[in-house]
């Protein structure tokens, strides 16, 4: 039995961008059934197949091996289709005015889990619509910021729950910056 990992890609967009997101997903996935407002109002999720450029994986593994993985299909030499992608959505206007958080939750076989580069998908998405931010959650422990207002970033924060709240976190990072900068002074 192969183990299955769950990894989330979080996309935060203005509500005005929802139709552009739906269009992107519907075109990419060759479906026409994604309706974010339905997901928002019903608090339910939508299961889709996610098609992404992952040429490195296709090059790295044999076709036979990739075909043996449940839920993965080879589209062509550059693309893979992940058959089980859950899409969730919730209103996050309390954080960012008039914004919605869309979560793509992929169930992935552990054998290729570390090979998948979500940045490619996030970057492709950012070409089609205006994104507030995109980040990835791994093992409910690591938060990796990928995009922020069109800037590609690599920021990882882990174990945030060891502090009490957001204010304390910001305070901690400011202090770390000050004390580490003194340590690394040229």
């Amino acid at each position: 039995m192969s183990r299955i990992y769950e990894r989330s890609l979080i996309i935060i967009i203005n509500k005005d961008e929802i139709s552009a997101f739906e269009k992107f997903v519907n075109e990419q996935f060759e479906i026409n059934r994604l309706n974010i407002f339905n997901i928002l109002s019903s608090a339910d999720n939508c299961l889709v197949s996610l098609e992404v450029s992952q040429s490195e994986i296709v090059k790295k593994y044999s076709t036979q091996f990739l075909n043996s993985i449940k839920g993965v299909e080879i589209k062509d030499e550059n693309k893979l289709i992940f058959e089980y992608c859950n899409i969730f959505a919730r209103d996050v206007s309390h954080l960012f005015k008039n914004h919605v958080e869309i979560e793509l939750l992929l169930s992935i076989d552990h054998r290729i889990q570390t090979d998948i580069d979500y940045r490619i998908f996030a970057t492709e998405l950012a070409k089609s619509l205006k994104i507030k931010m995109t980040y990835m959650i791994t093992d409910f422990e690591h938060y990796d910021l990928i995009l922020h207002n069109r800037d590609e970033l690599k920021i990882r924060i882990s174990n945030i729950e060891s502090l009490n709240n957001e204010i304390e976190l910001i305070e901690a990072i400011k202090l770390m910056t000050e004390n580490v900068a003194a340590h690394n002074k040229p």
């Binding site: 979080i10 935060i12 608090a43 969730f88 919730r90 996050v92 309390h94 954080l95 960012f96 958080e101 507030k132 931010m133 980040y135 959650i137 409910f140 938060y143 910021l145 922020h148 207002n149 800037d151 970033l153 690599k154 920021i155 990882r156 924060i157 882990s158 174990n159 945030i160 729950e161 060891s162 502090l163 709240n165 957001e166 304390e168 976190l169 910001i170 901690a172 990072i173 400011k174 202090l175 770390m176 910056t177 000050e178 004390n179 580490v180 900068a181 003194a182 340590h183 690394n184 002074k185």
Partner: protein
């Protein structure tokens, strides 16, 4: 190039003597260091530690795995452990003053020691106890090139890890006045996701 991971303990300047007392009680000192480990300016500290599995593995590999030959080969592993305690070092030791504060730094001298410092719970405990005793402002583990981990903040232990890019922006490009906005947004969003989001 080897790894030189570092524990950085930041204290208010007037609390330096507390560090001195802690080091006297928790290090194996040489003659020069006996009076005052800090004032001796001997940049080598040998830590007295409880043995955990990482330390046991380190001692076995380091002293018996071919890294060193000679005297160490004649010792038994048990000879280096007494009452479940052992010593690890030299660890490079230095102090840096800034803004009326002091950074007390313990720098690993080799990659193998860096890996040990990243993994051993006993070593982590040693530094947490130092932070507690010295009433440190922050305790930070710099796992070179990988992450910075805040281990002590506001008088309590924590485990916040952040990628170096965040701090490097501030360190190397202060003239750019790097924005905290991406970090703020990530923290707000992830905290909200982790705690307020019920599916």
């Amino acid at each position: 190039m080897g790894l030189n991971s570092t524990y950085i303990i930041t204290i208010e300047k007037h609390k330096l003597n507390r560090v001195n007392v802690y080091l006297k009680n928790n290090c194996r000192l040489n003659e020069k260091q006996l009076d005052s480990p800090i004032m001796s300016k001997d940049g080598c500290m040998v830590l007295l530690l409880e043995v955990d599995s990482c330390i046991k593995k380190y001692i076995r590999n380091y002293y018996y795995g071919g890294r060193f030959s000679g005297n160490y080969q004649d010792e038994n592993l048990e000879d280096r452990i007494e009452n479940n305690q052992t010593s690890i070092g030299c660890v490079d030791f230095s102090i840096e003053e800034f803004n009326n504060k002091l950074n007390i730094k313990f720098v690993c001298v080799a990659s193998s020691m860096s890996h040990l410092f990243a993994e051993s719970t006993s070593i982590r405990k040693w530094f947490i106890e130092l932070c507690k005793f010295a009433e440190a402002e922050t305790g930070i583990f710099d796992c070179e090139n990988e992450y910075f981990e805040l281990i002590w903040f506001k008088n309590k232990e924590c485990h916040l890890q952040i990628s170096p890019e965040i701090l490097y922006d501030f360190k190397f490009y202060p003239e750019k006045k790097p924005s905290l906005e991406p970090i703020n947004d990530l923290l707000n969003a992830s905290f909200d996701y982790a705690y307020k989001h019920k599916r």
